[in-house]
Symmetry: C2
DNA sequence: TTGTACGCGTTATCAT
DNA sequence: ATGATAACGCGTACAA
């Protein structure tokens, strides 16, 4: 037996309109009527149909979380990117924060070929807005969304302030500082030839981490040695093998993410280089236990900030937030950071 | 400018029905007409409105994932259960499998007070079905869902076969074998007094793990020593402190989950008991690196199995699946299992 | 093969 | 304060 607002209205002896007003907390319903209807709703176990609500123009409580997968092979990004990488932890944190605030979360992996899904979700009001992560600087589709839809939360994306009246929020990690601290730590360990395997230079984080490394090196009067790893396993492996083959000397490695530091470590260990300290970025679960170090963004705060932006309490548009990082040097700090609170 | 099926139909010079038929892959549309309409759809970037589709009776592509939080404080389960615990990894795996098969995933934490949300989702066809995890054996709400809605996938829930014609699937871990193997490992290490901190006896896993422990002990002619930890941090901590206080001897610990083994380890280390081996269950990220061991369910397979049941290719109803476990003895196996593939 | 017409359940608008 | 009615966009039984 289907229970809808019509049925509730019939029993209450009012019209569907009034029932709707009660459900949506309109002020112009006498408390007597309200109580009566609420009671019936409770007895019947009536719950409004979300699809109908959305179709009729009500705001949804679903937040979209969109992760960029930069190739056409969906299962590849799902395997390599989503499962192994940094996004995984982020999804959890966002989910948690969303649930706390009674939002629902819709997660999807997006590339150039299926970006229309995102637009559809905005247009059909299936989502209240979206959080975007992993997109390259100046990505066409993102630019389009910024212009046409709102609100939008961009994680690790260059802020461009030219979109006056829309709700566009930027959340970035303190990549520069984190990278600088990491590099300095290596130098303070007495290392004289610290190299940097850089990240994707099309992303803000990639550029900033590289800059942080350079800054630290210069501060100590050392010459930066940078190899472009593009955040990828393959590239990092290739680079480090090349260095070994050509006998290029180095005694410390700062990688722009843990994905790469993991690979670098594998190669170095295989070649008997046990004593070269390695620092990555992201604090993935399978680097610290191996004896590597990592720069950990405060991902809890990142997620919380992202979700809370949808409340739009303060009416601020176009806010830019920077998230702090912690240098994880060993298991003790790692375990501590594993707790989400 | 809104684009809907009416617009597409107008431009194509056909009726909305035909457009709908093309979208839903009906066979009775000449390929010529189909091509024409598809082209227009592509040009316009038209995407059907999901809410309207669902409202009009189409099956949704959203799978519900419901996690039981056994108290009323939502943020507590979110913090303690969701973030720290075993569910976290499971959510990720399910998400990944769902995305692979082009499903969407809706995650929510459920307790007795908000269970109506689940019914609503079923009734309103917002979800194609649900995966339920963490619910106690015989849970009233679950029984109700089993009777009234379908399909339903139950993880770690006693199978009750009295629901003839509905799609009810059970997925359990090989708790008995895993527990037995773990206990035997401790015994093979030469331990003479292995205790068990048991799990929630209202859950299948809790009971089976206890049974597995007992079986192993008996096999070696040893007397089981069981303390009911109920899967909880507090209980486990209390138990182990009590044992120390009362000078009850033991030289090995098998805990029914990693949550508890983590706590047990803390207490033992604080009291200078460094050499008592501890094995937990679930392979959480913060136990193995501490030097503990853990029984790891093949959570990838678990998630994959759960999601694939919604395809219902084979038309099997009421299937019971058991998921294998691996005993993780150290970092090497831990790292390996951290990969999702 | 294709079109007509109804129904899905709700919210918003307008009128009273 | 409340009711009637028009959207919202789509699927489908039925008719043609």
């Amino acid at each position: 037996m289907k229970i809808n607002s019509t049925k509730v209205a019939q029993i209450a002896g009012v019209s569907r309109s009034t029932v709707s007003r009660v459900i949506n907390n309109y002020s112009n319903v006498p408390s007597e009527t309200r109580e009566k209807i609420l009671k019936i709703i409770d007895e019947l176990g009536y719950i409004p149909n979300t699809s109908a609500q959305v179709l009729a123009g009500k705001k949804s409580r679903t937040i979209g979380l969109f992760i960029y997968g930069d190739n056409n092979d969906k299962s590849k990004i799902l395997d390599n990117g989503l499962s192994f990488g940094y996004y995984l932890d982020f999804i959890n944190r966002v989910l948690k924060e969303a649930l706390k605030l009674d939002y629902q979360l819709l997660v999807d992996v997006i590339n150039d070929n299926n970006f229309s899904k995102v637009e559809s979700l905005y247009v059909n009001r299936d989502i209240i807005g979206g959080i975007f992560i992993g997109f390259k600087e100046g990505d066409e589709n993102i630019q389009k969304i910024i212009k046409q839809h709102s609100p939008i939360v961009l994680v690790d994306y260059l802020s461009n302030p030219n979109c006056e009246n829309k709700e566009v929020y930027y959340i970035n990690t303190e990549d520069f500082n984190g990278a600088k601290e990491a590099t300095e730590h290596l130098i303070n360990l007495g290392k004289k030839r610290v190299i940097h395997i850089s990240g994707d230079r099309c992303k803000l984080s990639g550029k900033e981490r590289e800059k942080g490394y350079i800054e630290a090196m210069k501060k100590f009067g050392m010459t930066p040695m940078i190899y472009n790893g593009n955040y990828s396993d393959e590239k990092a492996t290739e680079i480090i093998m090349n260095l070994l083959e050509k006998n290029i000397e180095f005694d410390g490695v700062f990688c722009a993410n843990d994905n790469m530091s993991y690979c670098v470590n594998n190669v170095l260990k295989e070649n008997g280089k046990e004593n070269i300290p390695i620092i990555g970025f992201d604090n993935l679960r399978n680097t610290i236990p191996l004896g590597l170090m990592s720069v950990a963004p405060d991902i809890n705060n990142l997620a919380k900030t992202a979700v809370e932006l949808f409340q739009n309490d303060k009416g601020e548009k176009q806010k830019v937030t920077f998230i702090k990082t912690t240098l994880i040097k060993g298991l003790k700090e790692y375990i501590k950071e594993s707790y989400l609170d």
